[in-house]
């Protein structure tokens, strides 16, 4: 190996290790802030007279197994009927989704169904755009078809819009099938860390909570102000979150707006889901990283944190690559202090902080939920983290390939597991 190649490898390893360490240390710092910081104030209920007109949008592509449960919940919502509308988008379904939605529309005047033809543009973002264009409400609320929203949730999601700077709100997602198998147990743990601790601290510290595309609400005027709905992105929710942030607006996390979802029950489905997120998220990283750092309308700390969060789906690639370089380095350089330092750093990153940062966050989430026993599954998080590691790396490679060849990446729908009976 030439000296130049060695210098390049060492520089690459040190830089990427530093970036990954920053992301992981941020996770530890956030958990410490959650544990030692002050508690957030309870949200103030909004009087009926002040509630805005709301359109709930439910995209559904072949969702006959789950959509009935979602519509059951939505038609029992505690919200003034004269300001409440549900739009179901039957997105090119080939199963009974359209018929189930039509049946609900016939029984409930607040339900409207849009049937998208088979030749319509594919993908959830395109379907959502059709619904957005056909509604006139000031607030748009989104739920996936497998979600089971409780009756109070819309009142809670719209409450933060009293602040004119809030462009979007996000609730907490809770898997209801956590007991199905070990994977769903682990995904439940990941959700606890992400929502109970990370989103909560971001909200409390006036940083940037993520608008997650489901169990979330968007102010129409804010959406229009930042250029409307992006139908090209595979992470249209992340895309909107960062456009709102760059335009000087806020995203509010509403911890008590809980909604129940179905977690993937097989690793193949989870793999495809994370791969899609990794493609979309890394696409946003390329588009918004510098703009986020330069968003002068936002506080410096919020900009730095938001930029680090953009790196979340890049870290697994950096960590795996660093591990491979570290394993090969002693063979190339011998056991010198340089190769040993790089190897130790990479291994520590992978085994120590890499495990510890999310574990600690999850532990704080379990304690906060008053369910310490859930933490007992944490030794097996390596199972889901290796799925994510693999999916993120393949996602990054596919994104690079698609960018080079100018191909539009196709939306991959998440398979459902609930029995339809």
């Amino acid at each position: 190996m030439t000296a130049a190649a060695i210098v390049f490898l060492v520089a690459w390893n040190v830089t990427t290790t530093f970036l990954a360490l920053l992301v992981l240390l941020r996770q530890v710092a956030v958990t410490l802030l959650f544990h030692f910081g002050r508690r957030g104030a309870e949200s103030r209920p909004v009087p009926d007279a002040e509630l805005p007109r709301v359109t709930v949008i439910v995209p559904a592509h072949n969702e006959e197994r789950v959509i009935r449960g979602c519509l059951d919940c939505l038609t029992r919502m505690d919200y003034p009927a004269d300001r409440y509308e549900i739009i179901v988008i039957d997105d090119r379904s080939r199963d009974g989704t359209g018929a189930i939605a039509d049946d609900f529309a016939a029984r409930h005047p607040c339900v409207r169904v849009i049937h998208r033809p088979q030749d319509a543009a594919p993908g959830k973002p395109a379907a959502l755009l059709d619904a957005i264009n056909s509604s006139t409400s000031e607030v748009l609320v989104f739920f996936d078809a497998d979600y089971l929203p409780p009756p109070h949730i819309i009142r809670r999601l719209v409450a933060p819009f009293a602040d004119p700077l809030v462009g979007a709100t996000m609730g907490r997602v809770v898997p209801y099938n956590a007991n199905a198998n070990m994977l769903t147990k682990l995904l439940d743990l990941e959700r606890r860390g992400g929502y109970v601790v990370d989103q909560e601290v971001r909200h409390r510290m006036s940083l940037l909570p993520q608008f997650g595309g489901t169990t979330g609400a968007v102010r129409r005027s804010a959406l229009e102000a930042v250029g409307g709905w992006n139908t090209v992105s595979l992470a249209e929710d992340t895309d909107l979150t960062y456009r709102l942030f760059i335009a000087g607006m806020k995203v509010a996390y509403v911890a008590d707006a809980e909604c129940y979802e179905e977690s993937p029950e097989t690793w193949q489905v989870r793999y495809r889901q994370v791969k899609r997120w990794a493609i979309g998220h890394n696409d946003c990283l390329g588009r918004y990283f510098l703009a986020t750092l330069g968003a002068t309308r936002q506080p410096l700390m919020a900009r730095l944190d938001a930029a680090l969060v953009l790196l979340v789906y890049t870290v697994p690639s950096l960590v795996l690559l660093n591990l491979v370089i570290a394993l090969a380095m002693p063979a190339q350089l011998g056991e010198t202090w340089a190769s040993l330092s790089i190897m130790t750093m990479s291994l520590t990153l992978f085994t120590g902080i890499g495990n510890f940062a999310p574990f600690y966050q999850i532990a704080a989430g379990c304690v906060s939920d008053g369910q310490r026993r859930a933490f007992s599954a944490v030794p097996f998080l390596f199972v889901s983290s290796f799925t994510s590691l693999l999916a993120c790396n393949v996602g990054v490679l596919q994104l690079l390939k698609d960018k080079l060849l100018g191909i539009t990446t196709q939306w991959d729908k998440t398979q459902r597991f609930r029995s339809s009976s």
């Binding site: 089971l148 007991n179 394993l327 600690y360 906060s368 030794p379 609930r418």
Partner: protein, 259 residues
Amino acid sequence: MLNILIAVVVYECLVALAFILCWRLVRDVDTRLPILTTDGHDMRHRSGTLAAGSQVPDRPGALWQVLALLLGAVALGGVALSLSGTLADLSNALSAADTVAPDGRIDPTLLKLALPVGQLAILLALFPRFRNAVQFPAIIVHLFLIVFCLLVTLLDPVRIETGKPTLAPIFATNLVLLVLTHGLLTLLFCRNWRELVGSVLLAALAGGILALGSMAIALISSLLGGPLFFFQLYLVSAFGIFGLYFCVTGILLALWDRN
């Protein structure tokens, strides 16, 4: 050399057994949050009160937190350091009693390759059987890493010879991380005197795990060099030290809850 190999294999088997035990125990623990739904189409739904959200139980006072941290750190560090000394003598005795490799009855290269090739064989055997299992991606990643290490070693066979890596920084890094991990988890979980005693006992166990894991790393370093050693170092650190610590924590939490 054979003694060392056997000791390492026994340690790795014990780690695997601990994971299996923890898996069997934890998979029956109900980890669902109570959810607010009166009637659903799925029998797995559970009716109940809304989850607690961001309401965190009251934190203990600063003095209590400092005490819990200090006691845990002292127990962990004390046991790790004192047991490491005892185990170092044992490890020296193991090496001294070794009679197989010097008289040439077993090829030393074969002994060196037994561990990585054995792991490769296990991963290859698991590959088709676990295709639909949740562990499959972990098998793929480890298969990739071990094949990569074997290929690099093949290209530079001299590197399989034992190098002289300095083990002190590895022990120190793992010690600091484990003290930090245990300390911060103690602050989260430890609320009364009973739990404090439990936490100190767990810290002592963690010290024992660190000492055992470090001895395994030291033994491997006298057996393997190059990337194959570093792959084993990664395996022992990730699963044999931190993984084992979390398994013990998981088992205790699962049992505590059941009682």
